[in-house]
Every structure is written in C-alpha cells, then in structure tokens.
Amino acid sequence: MTSVAATHEDHHDHHHAPTGWRRWLYSTNHKDIGTLYLWFSFAMFLVGGLMAMVIRVELMYPGMQVVAPDFFNQMTTVHGLVMIFGGVMPAFVGLANWMVPLMIGAPDMALPRMNNWSFWILPFAFAILLFSVLMSAFGPGNPPAPNFGWTFYAPLSTEYGPASTDFFVLSVHMMGISSIMGAINVIVTVFNLRAPGMTLMKMPLFVWTWLITAFLLIAVMPVLAGAVTMVLTDRHFGTAFFDAAGGGDPVLFQHIFWFFGHPEVYIMILPSFGIISSIVPTFARKPLFGYSSMVYATASIALLSFLVWAHHMFTVGMPLAGMLFFMYMTVLISVPTGVKVFNWIATMWRGAITFELPMKWALAFIILFTIGGLSGLMLAMTPLDFQYHDTYFVVAHFHYVLVPGAIFGIFAAVYYWLPKWSGVMYDKFWGEVHFWSSLVFVNLLFFPMHFVGLAGMPRRYADYALQFSDYNWWISIGGFGFGLSQLALLYVVLKCASKKGEAAPDKPWDGAEGLEWTVPSPAPFHTFEKPPLVK
C-alpha cells in the first residue's frame, strides 16, 4: 500500500483564500468547486425527489388522483433527467473535485478555470429544463414539459414532442459540454498531476474508477449530443434520421441513444465502486483484497459497456444473431462485477471490522447493489426480457443499482469525507437515523416493484389494474419515507457545514490510508502546493 513521507507544508502567505461572492462565482479552487457541485447535486436530488413524490402520490391508489396523465409522464421524464444529469453525475464530479487532487497529491485540478466553467454551465442548463416544468405546472395554458421518458425515444420526441422538447435538446447539449469538460479535467489531472512516486498502480481505487469513468464520459457524451441533434433536425429541418418514410428508422434512435446510455449507467456506478473500495479496507483494517484485479475489472466493465447497448432493445426487433451477441456480452459483464463484489467481501474476511456510518452505507451498498446486479442478469436473458421489458421489474432493477447502489455510494463518501471537508464529525444520531430509515424505506420502496413487475404492471403509466393496489400502497409509503429520510442528511450536512460538532482529527478513521488524511481537517484552501513524495 501507499506510504507517505510526511510533507506538511505550511501555508504560503501569498495565497489568501478569496472571500465573499467572488470566492464561489469566480472560483478556481478544486475544493470550492467540489463543494458547489455537491450542493448543486443535493438541490437537484431534492427537486428530482419531489417529482418522485408526485409519482408515488398518484400511484398510491388505483385510478386517477392528483395529476393528469400527461403531467404524470412529465414527472417520470424529468425525474429521470434531473436525477441522472443533475443528481448523480454532478455528485460524482463534486467528489472527484474534492478528492482526486487530495488523493494523488496534486495542488488542484489540472485546468482550474475550465473546472469552474464545467460547474457553472449546470445551473443554467437545469434552469432551462426546470423552467419547462414550472411552465407546465403554473404557466399560462400549461404547455407540457418533456413527457416522452428520459430516454426520449423517437418518434415521441420528434413527431410528437411538445415545444419544450427543443429546450430540452439544448439543455442536454449544455449538460454534455459540462460533463465532457469535467471529464477532461479529471483525466488530465490524473495523468499529469500525480505526486512523485504515485504510480498508476498505487492510485487509490476511487481515482482509478474516476479515470475510467472520465474516459467513458468523453467517449459517449458526444454521442448523446449527436442523438439530440438528430432529434432537433428531424423536428425542424426535415431530416429523416428517425423517419422510415424518408429511409430512416426510429430504431436507429434507440441504437444511438443506448450506445450512449449503457456506458452512462457505468458512469453512474464506477465512482461508487471506487468509494466502496476506499471505505471497506478502512473499516475492515485490512488492505484491499486484489487491488490490481479491481483495476482490471473496472477497465473490463468499461470496455464491455460499449458492446451491450442493444440489451435495452430486445423487444423492438433485431436479428437473432444480434440478440445472442448482446445477451452473451451482457452476461459477460457479470464476471468483472462479480470479481469486485468478491474482493470487497474478501477484504472484510477476518478483518477487525467496525461499523461506523460510512461502513454501514458501504455494506448496504454491497448487498443491495448485488440485488440490482442479479436482477440485471435476469433482464440480460433475451427470452426472459420479453416478459420483463417495460414493466416495474425494470424499474426495480435500475433503481436498486442507482439508489442503494450509486446514491448509497455517494452517501458513504459524504459520511467518510465530511470530517475532512468540514473539520467536524457528523452528528452521529441523525446520521444513524438517516441510515436506518433510508435502508428500511428504500427496500419497502423498490423491492415490491419486482413482484408487481413480474405480474405484469407496466412502467410509465399513471394508473394500474386493481390487483396491484396493495403493493403500490406500500411502495408509496416506502417512497415517502425514503424522501423524508433525506431531510436527516440535509440536517447532518448543514450542521457540519456550520462547523457545529466535535472537532475532527486529521485522520478520523484509524484504519484509513492515503494522502487525503495527511492534510489537516478541514482541508486548507490550498494543499500539496509542493507535491508530497509517495514511497
């Protein structure tokens, strides 16, 4: 493992931390920009969560209750977009901003002004997207927000897309620009700013997983840009990409979209893999089992992710050879993923485990993400997918990998590094409340979805057949409970941000390793201005 030559650099006097609004608006500091990203992501998490609450209120009872079907569709659409592009991805970029330079001994991100640009594009992009929701809810004539699902399949988004579709297209372009610049920054930082002695195979797994994630982002966000561009030109300039009458094909849209979309789902999980790989060794007090196999597994998952996209499309019609290929490739991904889960468990094997909150989240991640992985394996089987496709089983599957997967990973990271960020320990009581209530409610929310899905309840409908009533009532209770639980996190974070709580030592976890624990808590404005020597 990495051992660190102590190189405590005192502050240089010429680098004062800027104050006031300029500090945040003009920032070139990776920690401040990381904080901006994390707060933005939290805000979007709450906004997207409110939309989920609307969905669950409507589905609590059969029949139409509170919203019109078209508004329900807008809620499912924008909930997905906000959570993916506004919640999970910016949270990861925020974590990368904070932690990657600290973990590799870099003075900052490689391109600090571009870093700030990647962040500040996001509020404007989401202002455009969310304005369409506000107009739909409160504007004159209630013009609909995007209502075609977050996957915006043609022709729902081309022929039939409302006027807001075009604004959605441009806001996705902006999100893409932001993501690509953020990813370039991470890659360049990792390749060029590592401290002397920090060889690639000594990097913490979080840095490795983010490096690979950044590669995926640069590879597929432009493809998404291509897809939305084709939607725009099909709508307004008479192109025929997704129009069979002109020689195009609506299925072409799905191919292009999922060529982006499947690597995208790994973009939303690989950084969490890295977080768990940091936390489990700390609290098991053992080095990570199989470090190099973790690196190779992550890289394999990333490469395979380019060869599995059409498993989202088994039911749309494609040649048998295509279905077989995509089924086998998808099943193959379970091998490197299995390696990772095995390694986490092997790391804990005979370890001196303690169960501080980051470890609790990590354990919940390992178990619940694996449930999502296993249902993914079921969905990968082409013939079985014909039953599961577009049912709540799919909803259950991807929410298990995204909520107790990606988002629990983010929560684990927040509890793990909050002492370093804020200089105070988190509030243990409310942290425990947050964990246990989230754990119970997230399962109440998503587990029954498997059953209603298998029984045939389709996704993206505002109503359902009567036999699904009981389950849906419980699912809604789970949803409300999970939503409310997040207020505990808000309290915990606000308390830390206002520096209330027990002071945190430089290394609050006795089993932790890595450069980030060699700097004071809270981490000073500038760190590693002179690179540390890593042995």
Binding site: D108, I184, V188, V223, H236, G238, T239, A240, A245
Partner: protein
C-alpha cells in the same frame, strides 16, 4: 523566450467561466426560440414571437468576446512565464481529449450512416425476414444506396465523388502538408517560412470552404439534393455540414494563431496554442478522408 516556473500555476479567481456560461445560456435560449420561430414545424408549436435570432446573435457575440478576454488572460500568463512545463502538458492532453470527444461526435453520425445503409434500407426493401414489412408499407420501394428515391417517393440525385469533392480532398491533403511545413518552420524558428506556409494553409482552408458552398448551391439548385430529401440528404448534409463547421472553426483558429505568430507569441518550446490549432486541422482533415470514402465515393 519566456522563463518558466517550476510550480504548477493555479490561477486566481476569474469571472470568465461564469460569464461564458451566461453566453451559452443565451445561445441555447435564443437558438431554440429562433428555430421554433423560423421553421415550419415550429409554427405548430405555437411559438409566435420573432426575437430568438436577436438573443442568439447576442449570445454568440457575448461568447466570442468572453473567449477573447479569457484567452487574453491565459496568453498573458503564458508570456509572463507563469506556465510550467507540466502545465503545458496539461493543456496538450486536454486538447487531445477534446479532439477525441469530437471524434465521438462524428462517430454518432457515421454510425447512423452505416446502420441506415447496411440495415435500414435493405430491410425496408424486404431483406432478411422483412418481406412483409416491405409488402405492407411501401411495396414499390427499391433498396439502393445512395438512396435516391425514398420509401415515400421523394427523389433526388446522388453527389458524385470525382468532381469538386475530389478536388476538395486534394486541397485539404495539401493544406495538411503546408501546415506541417509551417510547423517545422516554427520549431526551427524560421519565421518567414512559418508565415508563408501558414498563410497558404489558411488560404487553402478558405478555398475548401468556398468550394463546399458551391457544392451545396449546386446540390440545392440543380440536383434536388436537400436536407429534407430523405435519409441520404440528411446524412450527406449533416456529415459534410458538421465537417464544414469544423473546418470553419479550424480556419478561425489558424487565423488567430497567424495573428499571434505576427505578434511573436510563439517560440520553438512555447507553442501550445499553435500546435493545438494544428492538431485540430489534422483532425478535420482525417474526418474528411473518411467522409470522402463513405459519403461520396463508396
């Protein structure tokens, strides 16, 4: 020319990223409204204003001015010796990854081309297990490429490869050679040769764009080959159009670098901006070669 520091330079706070985000916002809002207000499909959406183009233009100007000031700051820092060798590497790696992202953007459209050509059009013509699709939807449709008659019966002519396009290929290839000569001149500090050959490269770029516009006029006026003439026209104009936009951007970059050469900004060991523009130029050249082969020729 300039001394370099050892420390990695982390710039002080800068307003330009935020200001540039406002520029993008104006472009997005203005552009969307402009499109809705000026196209036929837009009329059905009920956007009846007539102001989108002003916001779009304001956003474009805003963006250009912002980038001018942003890069002015960066150039001053570079000439002031604040950039270390390590920082130079950051810029270079950043540019290469940016070009990779551009490659993937084109890949989406090339992918669409291959999918349409090898699968969609044959399927619409009844290939594989699609005999009934063909029979029920457009029984008179003939699968062919280039698709000069769409299933719904629109006709167009296909753009041949061996007139203007072949000439344009030669122009771009020669421009890559002249740029490489200029590059060697830069590295050998031969200002005169640098200025002459970079000037030639820029002229070749402009000639390429001129011919491209000629070709578009010919396509629209004489051939019935338009953006809305079915999937062949869509792919033809979107691929060559985005390529043309990139040539335009590359030419602008080369012109800016030409002005910076005249001001004496570059030296054999401090020339990131110049080399980035050159890389970009070679990238658009390579994209054109693919375009020439799969869009015009085969």
């Amino acid at each position: 020319m300039s001394e370099r520091t050892e420390e990695y330079y982390v710039p002080e706070g800068s307003p330009w990223p935020l200001v540039a985000s406002v520029g993008l916002f104006l472009i997005a809002v203005g552009g969307t409204n402009f499109i809705q207000q000026s196209t036929a499909f837009g009329e059905t959406l009920g956007n009846e204003g007539n102001w989108g183009h002003w916001v779009l233009a304001a956003g474009a100007v805003w963006m250009i001015v912002t980038l001018f000031y942003w890069w002015r700051d960066t150039i001053r820092e570079s000439l002031g010796g604040l950039h270390s060798d390590q920082m130079d590497i950051s810029y270079r790696q950043g540019m290469l990854w940016f070009i990779f992202s551009e490659v993937m953007f084109f890949a989406a459209f090339f992918g669409a081309l291959f999918y349409v050509r090898w699968l969609v059009v044959p399927w619409l013509g009844g290939a594989g297990s699609n005999a009934m699709t063909h029979e029920l939807l457009w029984p008179s449709f003939q699968a062919m490429w280039p698709l000069t008659e769409t299933p719904s019966g629109e006709t167009t002519q296909a753009m041949g490869a061996w007139g203007l396009p072949a000439l344009n290929t030669a122009i771009l290839l020669v421009s890559s050679i002249t740029l490489t000569i200029a590059h060697h001149a830069l590295l050998e500090n031969d200002r005169k040769r640098l200025i002459i050959f970079q000037g030639i490269t820029i002229l070749l770029g402009l000639v390429f764009l001129f011919f491209q516009i000629e070709e578009y006029i010919h396509a629209y006026q004489d051939m019935g080959l338009t953006l809305d003439a079915g999937i062949y026209g869509s792919l033809f104009f979107m691929l060559t159009g985005f390529h043309g936009l990139h040539v335009t951007l590359g030419t602008v970059m080369l012109i800016v670098m030409f002005l910076r050469v005249l001001k004496g900004h570059f030296s054999p060991d401090n020339n990131f901006g110049w080399e980035a523009a050159a890389w970009y130029w070679h990238f658009v050249d390579v994209v054109w070669l693919f375009l020439f082969v799969v869009v015009y020729w085969l």
